[in-house]
């Protein structure tokens, strides 16, 4: 089974869950017998990817990607028609996307017709459509997030990106959504028939998270507070409207009104950082809120390990793979009802992203009860360990086979 996989990032050069999901999906597909050509918009070394062939569509350094065009930066897109975009302009998202499309055009001439084209998110949908046009191979569009999600609660996002997504979803032979939440958005916000979409949840690869002994040193101050009976609440995310962090802060401040031995670790960075700092001061909890900035490696891992409670506060989260990582590092989970990962987990507490009182009650509930905290941590570990990328790959291989024989559903 030859698959042309169109992606935008892979670890370690990823800015979010898209790269993680693409990496593990491809790895498990390769193990299931797929031969994968994976296209990236930048040129860099990716360790542990020998199971597939990686193609760089440009000579760009991944630094450019973080500096100028983070995978999720759709707000700057101002031109729909790629023909009008200057091919030499590698300073903008559209310029890079145009290069990416041209590269894919050349690539399919070289490698021939794949059994399926698998395009991830709006970033690569145009390249996917073009490859389908040239080869007549079936196109699968895999939706990890829509523009509607990225906009958070503020409208429907950039209309140009929305239009690109709409075209990709229309042209696709099959659509894969990472949750029912996402499937419903595709149906209701993009008008796509439900029977064209299937849900394929993300999973977690425990082996890749590796074995490591938490030494308790990275966040020494937080550990000392824990020793005094404080409960550490954390989230690891991008600070954007989509993630519901202002509501998380308000819920946290509400919880502190009832139980003050709580601290909040906000790990990550993003456009909302200054607003969140100001808000924590306004709410009178700034000495209990910790900002890490952008973190990787040990600091990133330990941001999970130091936490007693991990909150996924998203306003609209197609899946939310960080929740599974948090479960791996032994945190109790509180997840908004608007997060897709909640569809595959039971041993969690849920709240509506706007319901700050409910969140506060849950935070205090866990912080004041060792039994509840213990129970949630124990139960979720049993659960998340069952979610395997190999199962996802098996489903995906079946999809490829159906597409290969021309089945439409």
């Amino acid at each position: 089974m030859n698959i042309l996989m169109l992606g935008w990032e892979l670890p370690p050069h990823n800015s979010g869950g898209l790269g993680v999901a693409c990496y593990h999906l491809s790895k498990a597909l390769a193990a299931a017998g797929a031969s994968i050509d994976f296209v990236l918009p930048y040129d860099a070394h990716h360790p542990d990817t020998e199971y597939m062939t990686i193609h760089a569509a440009t000579q760009l350094n991944p630094i450019h990607k973080f500096g100028l065009m983070g995978a999720y930066d759709s707000a700057s897109v101002d031109e729909f028609d790629l023909d009008k975009v200057d091919l030499r302009d590698l300073q903008t998202m559209r310029g890079v996307q145009k290069r990416y499309v041209n590269f894919v055009e050349r690539l399919v001439k070289k490698i021939g017709t794949p059994d399926a084209i698998h395009a991830h998110d709006w970033l690569t949908m145009e390249a996917g459509m073009r490859a389908k046009e040239l080869t007549d191979a079936p196109l699968i569009v895999h939706v990890h997030a829509t523009e509607y999600d990225r906009a958070g609660s503020f409208g429907s996002g950039n209309p140009i990106v929305h239009e690109i997504e709409y075209q990709g979803l229309m042209m696709a032979d099959r659509i894969v959504a990472v949750s029912n939440i996402t499937k419903n958005i595709i149906i209701h916000r993009y008008g796509i028939p439900a029977d064209k979409i299937e849900v394929m949840y993300n999973a977690i690869d425990q082996a890749s998270l590796g074995k490591y002994d938490y030494d308790g040193r990275t966040y020494n101050y937080l550990e000392s507070l824990r020793a005094e009976g404080y409960t550490v609440v954390s989230t690891v995310t991008r600070f954007t409207a989509q993630k519901g962090l202002t509501q998380l802060l308000r819920g946290f401040a509400r919880a502190c009104e009832r139980f003050d031995r709580l601290v909040l670790l906000l790990a990550g960075d993003g456009e909302q950082r200054d607003e969140l700092i100001a808000l924590s001061a306004e709410l009178g909890v700034s000495d209990k809120v910790f900002f890490t900035g952008f973190i990787r490696g040990k600091q990133w891992r330990d941001a999970y390990s130091v936490a007693d409670i991990f909150v996924m506060s998203s306003v609209s989260e197609p899946f939310g793979i960080t929740a599974l990582e948090a479960a791996h590092y032994n945190s109790a989970l509180i997840i908004t009802k608007q997060s897709g990962v909640g569809e595959v987990l039971n041993s969690i507490l849920r709240y509506d992203f706007w319901d700050t009182d409910r969140l506060a009650d849950q935070l205090v509930g866990i912080a004041t009860s060792p039994a509840l905290s213990h129970q949630l941590k124990t139960d979720i570990r049993h659960e998340y360990a069952r979610l395997s990328w190999h199962d996802v790959a098996r489903t995906c291989m079946q999809l490829y086979k159906r597409m290969k024989i021309g089945a439409t559903a």
Binding site: R258, S347, A360, D361, G365, S369, A371, D379
Partner: protein
């Protein structure tokens, strides 16, 4: 002696805790007054169950008693459901009263609050047994003679207690590991007791009605009066004495809906059974009076009528349940000392076993989230609301004693 069916049904509703948050704690002491359209609105639920089960089933039982002089039934009715009926549906109380007035409907004793107090505090347990006894006397003018503990929980200690307390009978699950080669269709004596008799549930025949009746995938479906009559007869064999059919009263109409034909089935079966002059019905205490015990039953570990394990693990299986119950019963002496009736009653309502049941996590992480019915989003939510309410009870105790009213 005629062969007899001992039909025993249990009537109960808990006081479900509303979404009682940490912001209510120490502010608002109403734990049970949910007025939203949620599954925690006690009044809505009671009225629904009254319409679907209590009213039609008491009417049917009344008709059976009027039609068949040999028909008899035993009921245990928890104090909490009686409180709700008194508040919202006095006609349901009247309907039960009319059954008792026939002299062929026995009321079985239990803890007023349908609690697990026996496993935590003997004094609180006895208090709740007395409260129930008084309530039954007040409403129905009846004395209780046979005891059943919450969820049919039972062991040697309970049997000894009931024996010394003066009950003539006690009910338990007819669980195979306890019975061994023996049959539940006889009267037994608990090991180490003097006078008390033990009636053990025939769970196969009971559950054919209570759990399987409406199940179209069941090989016995559809269950007819003739078919069931055959099963009962073959279960009794040549010399069986009694068939103990123990089940929730709400089986009829609430757990199994009327449109399955369960009411008609019941009526047909009673007629079919009594058409054989060798057959009759016994109340629980009549069964104890009529038959000598054929053997002793040893139950060192607690059994219940729940789950394939028949143990207490649905109520006391995880850390949350143990912690919640520990904190709850720790308050006993401080609560009783207040003498504040409302406060004591609120605390006792929290002893109802449904609260820890809602915290059950068995099978929950396996994805079988509906294995244990609960009005809450998750066992963890149930725990949080319970603990918030319990903390408020603590606050009220503190507040009470602070003002010097010891």
């Amino acid at each position: 002696m005629k062969r007899g069916i001992v039909l025993y049904m249990h009537v109960h509703q808990p006081w479900r805790i509303r979404d009682y948050t940490v912001f209510d704690t120490a502010e608002n002491h109403d734990y049970f007054g949910d007025f939203t359209e949620s599954h925690r609105n006690n009044k809505d639920i009671f009225e629904k169950v009254a319409n679907k089960s209590y009213r039609p089933m008491t009417a049917l039982l009344r008709r059976m008693l009027d039609t068949h002089p040999e028909f008899k039934v035993s009921l245990s009715i928890s104090g909490t459901v009686l409180e709700q009926a008194e508040a919202w549906a006095p006609d349901v109380i009247d309907a039960f009263r009319a059954l008792v007035a026939t002299g062929r409907c026995e009321i079985v004793a239990e803890t007023y609050y349908h609690s697990l107090a026996f496993f935590y505090s003997r004094s609180e347990f006895e208090h709740q047994v007395e409260l129930h006894r008084a309530k039954v006397k007040e409403l129905f003018g009846a004395e209780t003679k046979v005891f059943r503990n919450t969820e049919l929980s039972y062991d040697n200690n309970l049997a000894s207690w009931a024996d010394e307390y003066g009950f003539k009978g006690i009910l338990s699950e007819g669980w195979d590991p306890i019975l061994g080669w023996r049959s539940p269709n006889y009267v037994y004596k608990p090991v180490g007791t003097k006078n008390i008799k033990l009636l053990m549930k025939n769970y196969r025949l009971s559950d054919d009605i209570a759990f399987r009746f409406g199940n179209k995938a069941w090989e016995g479906y559809p269950l007819t009066a003739d078919k069931y009559d055959n099963w009962v007869n073959s279960a009794l064999g040549d010399d069986g004495q009694i068939i103990n059919l123990f089940m929730d009263f709400e089986t009829f109409g609430e757990n199994i809906w009327e449109d399955t034909g369960i009411f008609a089935f019941f009526e047909d079966f009673v007629g079919r059974w009594l058409s054989n002059p060798a057959n009759t019905f016994y109340t629980t205490s009549e069964a104890c009076d009529t038959f000598e015990a054929v053997d002793e039953i040893d139950t060192p570990h607690t059994t219940t009528w729940a789950d394939s394990e028949r143990d207490l693990s649905a109520w006391l299986g995880n850390h949350m349940q143990h912690e919640a119950m520990k904190y709850l019963y720790e308050l006993e002496s401080d609560i009783v000392r207040t003498g504040d009736e409302t406060l004591i009653s609120d605390w006792r309502r929290l002893t109802t076993s449904d609260h820890p049941y809602y915290m059950c996590t068995k099978y929950f992480s396996d994805g079988d989230v509906h294995a244990y019915f609960s009005p809450y989003d998750s066992p963890y939510d149930a725990f949080i609301y319970f603990m918030n309410a319990l903390r408020d009870v603590r606050y009220r105790i503190y507040d009470h004693h602070k003002h010097g009213e010891f």
